[in-house]
């Protein structure tokens, strides 16, 4: 008996070490085949969560909740009633409201806020059997590309080195879903729901060597997600590979009566889209995405990606998206304008921080000055200005017209191609503290991702290779509205052809 239990203990130790290496799809297969239990998987991830604390990826850890849910998952596997994501241990970006678990959106102004409700997207994930390990750090109100604007402190990219917390040059994981990307890359979460307003899923995924998809605007419900820019915000997964992204999206997507902008369309089986077949598909290469100052190695990886798809049977065509360079300045009218309106609710009355003041306007002003960080104040001030009397036509209306032009460029391009291939970011992960001297410098991180949000299209980023510094670089695929299937199919084929296997030097 004693011997037997020792053997099984050793076996489980061995499993523990390797369980976090499995992709979401592999882990689900393993639980279905009873090779290990949901409880074992969750225990492995709780240990990984502790190992990865130096990254500051998790802002709230909920191991007890996760273990309790794992018990239910094991009961369901035993009874044969397991759901599609049964027992999958996820981290959740702290922009999703989670019932009974603090949600701060990375802001001081929401300190102490515990939602009484669950966001639709996370509720759908739990309904499909997934469970939560904790909440993940992010740029304040999702405004940032470096995770340095968070009130919970910066998250460190696990690609920084073997001892990231003590490295002399700590790298950013990207943002705003920086905690999500760092945790998934470091094997401290199997996958994570994130959000993307201008690149907040795709850019951190690219900087951490992961796959992320922002679906078409309207595909996922925005209900219960702390609002940033309502005409641009979309939820989507940060995952280890294309198959995992498809699995996650299948559970996250779908109509929700509580969000009138979520579309009444059936959700396709995204897994079935991963046929690996790209024969006959036309892949567009936009000439305007060759920007000044972009490292040559990104151009090389981009060309290689196109070549690999051609070898797999696709046809590569050159396309033009002439208004690309105007997407970013137009975004910095639309997004701040909508943010200034959405963030009006933080006034120290109903939830979060209150800084005293009399009369009540003084209380509002003190609260918002102390509660919002500099980037959020910057954007609320810009947004207030461009919406103020006399300036609306010159700025907001103009930006919305430019947006029509941008959307028109894509519609025109999709007459001659089925999917568009671009770089995901203009560079590799940079150091914490860099690009902080001029706000526009930081905003340029999203130069390739923002146009996709402006047009509401689906966009996927996937790892393309390593830079000469050994850091991951990503490519982006853009699809027609609601054609996530083609994006995923081409993404799957490209992933196979590229064969990216690198793992960050620091991981659980």
């Amino acid at each position: 008996m004693i011997q037997g239990s020792e053997i099984s203990h050793q076996k489980s130790e061995k499993n523990m070490a390797s369980l976090t290496e499995l992709s979401l799809a592999e882990a689900l297969d393993g639980m279905r085949a009873k090779r290990f239990s949901a409880t074992e998987l969750v225990r492995a991830y709780i240990a990984a969560q502790e190992t990865c604390r130096p990254l500051n990826a998790y802002v709230v850890e909920t191991p007890e909740l996760a273990l309790e849910k794992a018990k239910e998952s094991d009961a369901r596997y035993a009874k044969g009633t397991a759901r599609p994501l049964e027992g999958a241990p996820l981290g959740v970006k702290d922009l999703f409201c989670t019932k009974g678990v603090p949600t701060t959106a990375g802001s001081r102004i929401l300190k102490g806020f515990t939602p009484a409700y669950e966001s639709t997207v996370t509720a759908r994930l739990w309904h499909d059997g997934a469970l939560m390990l904790g909440k993940l750090g992010m740029d304040e109100f999702a405004m940032g590309s470096s995770n340095t604007t968070s009130a919970c402190g910066p998250v460190i990219n696990p690609w920084t080195g073997p001892d990231p917390a003590n490295a002399s040059r700590k790298l950013v994981p990207g943002g705003s879903s920086g905690g999500a990307a760092a945790a998934v890359a470091a094997r401290a979460a199997i996958a994570a729901p994130g959000t993307d307003t201008g690149g907040s899923i795709r850019q951190p995924a690219a900087l951490c060597g992961l796959t992320g998809i922002k679906p078409t605007y309207g595909r996922c419900s925005r209900w219960g997600i702390v609002a940033f820019a309502s005409s641009l915000d979309q939820a989507g997964p940060v995952a280890r590979d294309v198959k995992d992204a498809a699995l996650m999206l299948r559970s996250m997507a779908g109509h929700d009566p509580k969000d009138s902008t979520s579309v009444q369309r059936g959700v396709p089986d995204y897994l079935a889209a991963l046929t690996g077949e790209v024969g006959g598909l036309r892949v567009g290469i936009p000439r305007e995405y060759r920007v000044d100052g972009m490292p040559g190695e990104i151009g090389d990886l981009w060309e290689r990606g196109a070549k690999l798809l051609e070898e797999a049977g696709a046809e590569v065509v050159e396309i033009s998206l002439p208004h690309t360079k105007y997407a970013l300045p137009a975004y910095y009218i639309v997004a701040p304008a909508e943010a200034s309106s959405n963030l009006a609710r933080y006034d120290g009355v109903r939830y979060g921080l209150r800084v005293p003041g009399r009369p009540v306007q003084e209380m509002y002003e003190n609260t918002r000055a102390a509660g919002f960080g500099r980037e959020v104040r910057r954007r609320v001030l810009i947004g207030t200005y461009v919406l103020s009397a006399g300036y609306y036509d010159a700025y907001y209306l103009k930006a919305q017209k430019v947006r029509t032009r941008i959307a028109g460029d894509f519609a025109q391009a999709f007459k001659t191609c089925d999917v568009i291939l671009t770089p995901a970011t203009p560079g590799e992960a940079f150091a914490i503290g860099e690009k902080e001297d001029d706000p526009v410098k930081m905003w340029l991180e999203d130069v390739f991702t923002v146009p996709v949000n402006m047009a509401g299209l689906p966009g996927l980023s996937l790892p393309a290779g390593l830079s000469k510094n050994g850091l991951p670089l990503g490519l982006q695929l853009i699809g027609r509205p609601f054609d996530e299937e083609t994006v995923l199919r081409v993404g799957g084929a490209l992933e196979n052809a590229i064969g990216f296997r690198a793992v960050p030097p620091f991981h659980a």
Binding site: R350, G352, R368, R377, V402, M454
Partner: protein, 95 residues
């Protein structure tokens, strides 16, 4: 210069964000720089272009005009910085 100190005072008040007097010059300079960068949009001909109001062509859904939620004052007040007798409490508005 589009944005000067007075403009900063005005928009900060509209945005209900306290900006200290000594910070105003720096904010004016920074916001002015950003708006200068944004001005490149004037190169785009938008003469006969309608503003984009919805990225996805879809009709707004209709629903029955029924109350499906509510009756949870305690949950609503649970996160309030100050509350009393089922109400949010704010500094006195009328003296």
């Amino acid at each position: 210069m589009t944005i000067d100190k007075d403009t900063v005072t005005r928009i900060a008040s509209l945005a209900r964000i306290k900006v200290r007097e000594e910070e105003k010059e720096a904010w004016a300079k920074e916001l002015d720089g950003i708006l200068g960068w944004i001005d490149q949009l004037n190169e785009v001909d938008t003469g006969h272009v309608a503003p984009l109001t919805s990225v996805v062509e879809t009709a707004l859904p209709m629903r029955d005009d029924r109350i499906t939620d509510g009756h949870c004052p305690n949950e609503i007040l649970a996160n309030a910085p100050a509350q009393a007798a089922g109400f949010f409490v704010v500094p006195k508005v009328v003296e």
